[in-house]
C-alpha cells in the first residue's frame, strides 16, 4: 500500500507545474496585451465550454486563430520577440506556472495506485470501436476489461494492429492518451482498478479532497 500522506507532502513541497504553450502550427503570431507575472485562466464553465484567456492570435492563410490558456496559471515568460513574426509549428510562445489543482493531484496519486497498462511501442493508440462507443456513451468507469481482451488499436507506419490488454481484470479508471497523439513506448495508456479495490481508491480520493486545498 502506498503512503498517501508522504506523497501529498512531496507534491505540496513543489505544487507547481510548468506549462509551455507552443504554436500548434505555423503562422504569424501576435500576442495579447499580457505581461509576465499576470494570471490567466483556463477553460471555464460546467462543461469547460468557455475557452481560457486569449494569449494571442496565430494567423495562417487568412484565418486568425486564438491561442488560449490551457489551464489557470501565472505567466512566467512570453516570447515577445516572436510578436508579429512568422513562427514555426511547435515554437514555444508562453510559459505558464500552473498550481496543481485537486484533480491533478488526484491523477498523480492515482497513477501510483492503479495498475497502468503501458504502450508497448511508440505509436498512436485508439480504443477498439466497441469500447470507444461504450466510453463515449457513458464513461470509462463503466467499462470492465479482462486479461487478453482486444482493447486498443495501435497505429504506426500507416498500419493498424490490434493490441490486447494484459493485466488484472477491472474497470478503466483513468485514460492517459488523447486522440491522434503519438505516445512513446512505456507511456501509460490506461489506469485499471480491480473491482474489489474500488473502495480503496474512493478513500484515497476522499483524502485528497480534504487535504489538498486549492488556492
Amino acid at each position: 500500500m502506498i503512503d498517501i500522506s508522504e506523497l501529498l507532502d512531496a507534491i505540496k513541497s513543489s505544487p507547481y507545474r510548468e506549462i509551455v504553450v507552443a504554436a500548434p502550427h505555423t503562422g504569424r503570431m501576435s500576442f495579447a496585451a499580457l505581461e509576465t507575472g499576470m494570471c490567466v485562466h483556463g477553460p471555464q464553465g460546467q462543461w469547460k465550454e468557455m475557452p481560457g484567456t486569449t494569449l494571442g492570435t496565430l494567423e495562417r492563410e487568412g484565418n486568425p486563430k486564438p491561442i488560449c490558456a490551457p489551464e489557470n496559471g501565472e505567466i512566467c515568460r512570453i516570447h515577445k520577440e516572436l510578436d508579429g513574426g512568422f513562427v514555426e509549428a511547435g515554437a514555444p510562445l508562453v510559459v505558464l506556472r500552473h498550481m496543481l489543482t485537486r484533480d491533478e493531484v488526484q491523477r498523480i496519486i492515482l497513477q501510483k495506485t492503479l495498475y497502468l497498462f503501458r504502450a508497448p511501442e511508440r505509436a498512436k493508440y485508439y480504443f477498439t470501436p466497441e469500447t470507444d462507443k461504450k466510453i463515449r456513451a457513458t464513461d470509462a468507469h463503466s467499462v470492465t476489461i479482462r486479461d487478453g481482451m482486444e482493447l486498443f488499436i495501435m497505429s504506426r507506419m500507416k498500419r493498424e494492429v490490434p493490441l490486447h490488454y494484459a493485466g488484472p481484470d477491472g474497470v478503466i479508471y483513468e485514460i492517459y492518451f488523447k486522440y491522434n497523439e503519438n505516445l512513446d513506448a512505456g507511456a501509460p495508456l490506461i489506469g485499471v482498478c480491480p473491482r474489489d479495490h474500488l473502495h480503496v481508491i474512493q478513500d484515497m480520493i476522499a483524502r485528497v479532497q480534504t487535504e489538498w486545498t486549492e488556492t
Binding site: Q46, W47, E49, R60, N63
Partner: protein
C-alpha cells in the same frame, strides 16, 4: 376588536400592498394617503377609540374604491403585466370554485400531480328553465398559478403537463362535452425532455385544430407558446386586465437591447416594449384575435370580487351557447337564437341550450373554427399584388376547381383500373412471344459472330448520357471567392485540418471534408442545387413583411433586411421539381431577420398550403433557419402558430404529404406549431432544433444547459425528428422520401 372588522382590515391591507406592488413606486401620494387613512383607522380601532367602527371602516373602504377607480385610468401596459402576475390575482382554482357549480379535479391534486402547473377538472354548470334543472358538464383545462405557490411553477407548464392537457381534450372529445380553457401562463417551460416543449405544443395545436367539441378559451396571462398550447378555441374571451403577447416584455427588451447572457434590461426599455407590443385586451380585440373582453373590477380581479365571477360565468355560458348555436344548419333559427343570446337583458342561466352536437354539427364546428383562423391577420401583411392579379388569381381558382375535381377524383381512379388491365394483357403477349421464339434463340446462341459482339460490348465505349457524378453545383456560395481558410468547429475533437474557403464553399458544399460538419449556406444554395435546374417558379412574392404594430424603428430594419436579401419577406414560396416530381415548397430564410415569422410569412405559408392542396402536390417546408415568431409584430405574429397549423391540418386531411426539413437553427414558435406538427421532419446535419435557446433557458429556468443540447442528433434521439440528412444528399434523400412516403401517386394516401 370585532373579528369581522379585523378581516376587513386585513383585506384593505392586502389591497394597499397590491397597489404598491403594481405601481412600483409611482403614484406615491395616493399610496401615502391610503396608508395614512388605514393606519389611523387601524390604530383607533385597535385602541377601541372608534365610536362607529363599521361606518368609519366603510368610509375608508370607499376611499380605497375611489383611489382604485382613479388609478385604474392611469394603468400602463406594464402595470397590467404586473397585475396579471400578482399573487393576489384570481387563479384557476378560484374560478372553479366560484364560477362552476361543482367540480372534480382529474389531473392530480396540489403538488401531487404530473405537473402541478396544469390543472384539469371536470366541472358542472347547473341551469334552470322553468322548474327543470339541467346539469351541463365541461372539461376545464388551464394553467394554475396557485397565488404564487412555488410548486405551481408560476403556471409555466412542462412538456408533460401539456401532454396531459391534450389527453383530457381527447377525453372531452370522446364524451362530447365542451372544453373551457383558461390561460394563465407566462410561457411554456422551455426544456427538451420528453415529450419536448416544442413538440408537445405543436401536437396540441394540431389536435385542437380538429377537435370536434366546442372550445372556449379565457385569457388572463397569454404568454406565447404556453398560451397557444391550450388556446386554439372557437371563442376566445379575454379578461380586461390580462395580456396576450408573443413574448414577455422582459424577453422583448432583451432582444431589442441585444443583451447577452446575464445582462438585465433597463425598466424603461421593458416599459417601452410592453407599450409597443400591443398586448392588451383592447388591442387584441381590435385585431380580431379575441372575441370579447370580460370587464374586471378596477385594478384587476382578485378572489374577493364575487361580481366578477358572476359576470365571468355569464360570459362563459353565453360563449359556449353561441358556439353551439352557430353550428346549427338552418340560418333563420341560428340567427334568432344568437340574437336572443347576445341580448344582455336575458339571464343566460335560464336559457338552456344542449351542448351536445350531432355529427354534422361537429364537422361544421371544426370547419368554422378553421376558416375563422385562416381569415385572421391578413391585414397585417402588405399584399402588393395589383388588384387585377388578385382578381385573376381568384377567378382562376374558381374556374379551375371543377377541372381539378375531374382530374383527381374521377380520372385518376379509372386510369388506375385501365393501366392494370393493360399490364396484364401485355404480360400475356410477352409470354406468348417468348414461347414462340424459343427455338430461334437456341439456334442463334451457337452462331459464331456472337463472340465478337460480346468482346465488343465488353471492351468498347458504352453510351452514357447522364453522368450524375459530374453534376456540379449550380450555385456556389459567394464566399468561395475569398482566398482564406476556415477552422471547423469540430477540429478540437476530430482533428479536422483548416479548410480552404474556395474548396469549402464551392465543391464541398460547405461540408467539412473530414468530420462532415456543415457550415451554414445561403438559402439560394438550396433553391438552385436541390431542385431541377430551372424548375422553380416563385409565387406570391409581392406579399411583403411590414410593421403592423408600428413598432418604433422597425420599419427601417425591415427595409434594411429587404435590401440585404433582395427578398420581400422571410419566406419564399415556390413550385419546383425533383426529377420531375412536382411539389410546392415554402422556404423560411434565416438570412431575413433571422427567419422570423410574421403576418406576411404566415400568409404566404397558408397560401402555399392551399395551392399544394389544390394542385395535389406534395408540400415541403424547407426551414433554412427560423428564430421564432417575429416579436415586433406581437400577436399578429403569434396568431400564425395556430393559423398555419390549421392550414397544415387541412392539407394533410385532404390527403397531402407534408414534409419539413430543418437547417441551421430552428427555434421557438414555428417549430412548436406548423413545423413541429409534421409527421415527417428531417434535419440537415449540424443543425440545431429546439424550443428556446440556451440563453432563454438559463433566464427562465436558471439551469445551465450542456453544449450541443439542441443539436439535430439530440433532437433525433429525443424523437423530435425522423432523420438527419447530409446536405450534399438532400436531393437524393428528398426524392427517396417522396417516393417511399408519398408512394407512386405522391399525394393521395
Amino acid at each position: 376588536m370585532h373579528n369581522n372588522i379585523e378581516k376587513r382590515l386585513q383585506n384593505l391591507r392586502e389591497r394597499l400592498a397590491y397597489i404598491t406592488d403594481i405601481f412600483t413606486g409611482k403614484h406615491k401620494d395616493s399610496v401615502t394617503l391610503l396608508e395614512e387613512r388605514l393606519a389611523s383607522f387601524a390604530g383607533r380601532a385597535l385602541s377601541g377609540a372608534c365610536e362607529s367602527a363599521y361606518a368609519e371602516l366603510s368610509g375608508v373602504e370607499d376611499i380605497f374604491a375611489y383611489v382604485e377607480r382613479r388609478l385604474e385610468k392611469t394603468l400602463t401596459p406594464m402595470d397590467r403585466v404586473r397585475v396579471v402576475r400578482h399573487p393576489q390575482r384570481v387563479c384557476l382554482r378560484d374560478i372553479l370554485e366560484n364560477v362552476y357549480d361543482n367540480f372534480t379535479e382529474v389531473g392530480g391534486q396540489d403538488e401531487h400531480s404530473l405537473d402541478p402547473s396544469m390543472l384539469i377538472a371536470r366541472a358542472v354548470i347547473t341551469r334552470r328553465r322553468g322548474k327543470k334543472t339541467y346539469m351541463q358538464s365541461v372539461m376545464v383545462i388551464g394553467q394554475e398559478k396557485g397565488h404564487g405557490a412555488e410548486y405551481r411553477n408560476g403556471g409555466s407548464v412542462k412538456p408533460w403537463g401539456n401532454a396531459k392537457a391534450l389527453q383530457y381534450m381527447g377525453v372531452a372529445e370522446t364524451e362530447g362535452i365542451p372544453i373551457h380553457a383558461y390561460i394563465f401562463t407566462p410561457g411554456s417551460y422551455p426544456i427538451e425532455d420528453y415529450p419536448g416543449a416544442a413538440q408537445q405544443i405543436a401536437r396540441n395545436i394540431y389536435n385542437m385544430a380538429g377537435l370536434r367539441v366546442p372550445v372556449v378559451a379565457v385569457i388572463s396571462e397569454g404568454g406565447s407558446g404556453g398560451a397557444e398550447a391550450i388556446g386554439l378555441a372557437d371563442r376566445r374571451l379575454m379578461l380586461s386586465h390580462g395580456y396576450y403577447s408573443v413574448i414577455s416584455p422582459e424577453g422583448a427588451a432583451a432582444i431589442e437591447g441585444r443583451l447577452k447572457n446575464g445582462q438585465r434590461a433597463s425598466p424603461e426599455l421593458i416599459e417601452h416594449c410592453a407599450a409597443n407590443l400591443k398586448i392588451q385586451a383592447e388591442d387584441n380585440l381590435k385585431f380580431g384575435y379575441i372575441d370579447r373582453i370580460i370587464q374586471e373590477p378596477p385594478l384587476g380581479a382578485r378572489p374577493w370580487h364575487f361580481d366578477f365571477f358572476r359576470s365571468l360565468r355569464q360570459e362563459l355560458i353565453r360563449a359556449t351557447d353561441e358556439v353551439v348555436i352557430s353550428t346549427r344548419k338552418t340560418p333563420v333559427l341560428r340567427g334568432l337564437a344568437l340574437a336572443r343570446h347576445r341580448n344582455p337583458e336575458n339571464d343566460i342561466d335560464h336559457l338552456y341550450i344542449r351542448w351536445g352536437l350531432s355529427g354534422g354539427a361537429k364537422t361544421r364546428l371544426v370547419q368554422r373554427r378553421q376558416r375563422k383562423l385562416l381569415r385572421l391577420s391578413r391585414q397585417a401583411a402588405r399584399d402588393r399584388r395589383p388588384f387585377l392579379t388578385k382578381t385573376a388569381t381568384a377567378f382562376w381558382d374558381w374556374i379551375s376547381k371543377p377541372w381539378v375535381v375531374f382530374k383527381y377524383d374521377f380520372y385518376r381512379k379509372h386510369q388506375r383500373w385501365i393501366t392494370t388491365l393493360m399490364e396484364e394483357i401485355n404480360n400475356e403477349i410477352d409470354m406468348f412471344k417468348y414461347r414462340l421464339l424459343s427455338p430461334w434463340r437456341k439456334f442463334s446462341r451457337r452462331l459464331p459472330n456472337r463472340t465478337e459482339n460480346k468482346a465488343k460490348e465488353l471492351t468498347a465505349l458504352s453510351s452514357w448520357k447522364e453522368d450524375s457524378r459530374s453534376r456540379r453545383w449550380d450555385y456556389l456560395s459567394p464566399r468561395y471567392k475569398a482566398d482564406r481558410t476556415l477552422t471547423c468547429p469540430n477540429s478540437e475533437s476530430y482533428g479536422c485540418l483548416d479548410l480552404w474557403g474556395p474548396d469549402l464553399f464551392a465543391e464541398f458544399a460547405g461540408v467539412c471534408s473530414h468530420c462532415g460538419y456543415h457550415f451554414p449556406m445561403e438559402p439560394e444554395w438550396y433553391v438552385r442545387n436541390v431542385f431541377d435546374t430551372g424548375s422553380t417558379f416563385e409565387f406570391n412574392s409581392e406579399i411583403e413583411a411590414g410593421n403592423p404594430l408600428d413598432f418604433p424603428d422597425f420599419s427601417e430594419r425591415i427595409s434594411q433586411a429587404k435590401k440585404k436579401t433582395g427578398a420581400k419577406s422571410g419566406c419564399m414560396t415556390f413550385e419546383a421539381r425533383i426529377d420531375n416530381i412536382k411539389m410546392v415548397v415554402v422556404m423560411f430564410m434565416g438570412t431575413f431577420r433571422g427567419g422570423s415569422v410574421g403576418a406576411a410569412e404566415g400568409y404566404k405559408f397558408v397560401e402555399a398550403a392551399a395551392r399544394a392542396a389544390k394542385k395535389r402536390y406534395p408540400f415541403l417546408a424547407y426551414v433554412h433557419g427560423t428564430a421564432g415568431i417575429r416579436i415586433q409584430e406581437g400577436t399578429h405574429g403569434l396568431i400564425q402558430m395556430p393559423r398555419c397549423t390549421v392550414a397544415v391540418r387541412r392539407y394533410i386531411e385532404a390527403g397531402g404529404l407534408y414534409m419539413v426539413l430543418y437547417d441551421t437553427n430552428s427555434f421557438a414558435g414555428p417549430v412548436a406549431s406548423f413545423l413541429g406538427c409534421s409527421p415527417y421532419q428531417f434535419a440537415v446535419r449540424s443543425s440545431n432544433i429546439g424550443f428556446a435557446g440556451p440563453g432563454v433557458i438559463k433566464e427562465t429556468t436558471g439551469m445551465d444547459i450542456p453544449p450541443k443540447y439542441h443539436r439535430s442528433y439530440r433532437a433525433l434521439s429525443r424523437g423530435h425528428i425522423q432523420g438527419i440528412w447530409d446536405r450534399r444528399q438532400i436531393r437524393a434523400n428528398l426524392k427517396q422520401a417522396l417516393l417511399t412516403i408519398g408512394g407512386r401517386n405522391l399525394y393521395y394516401r
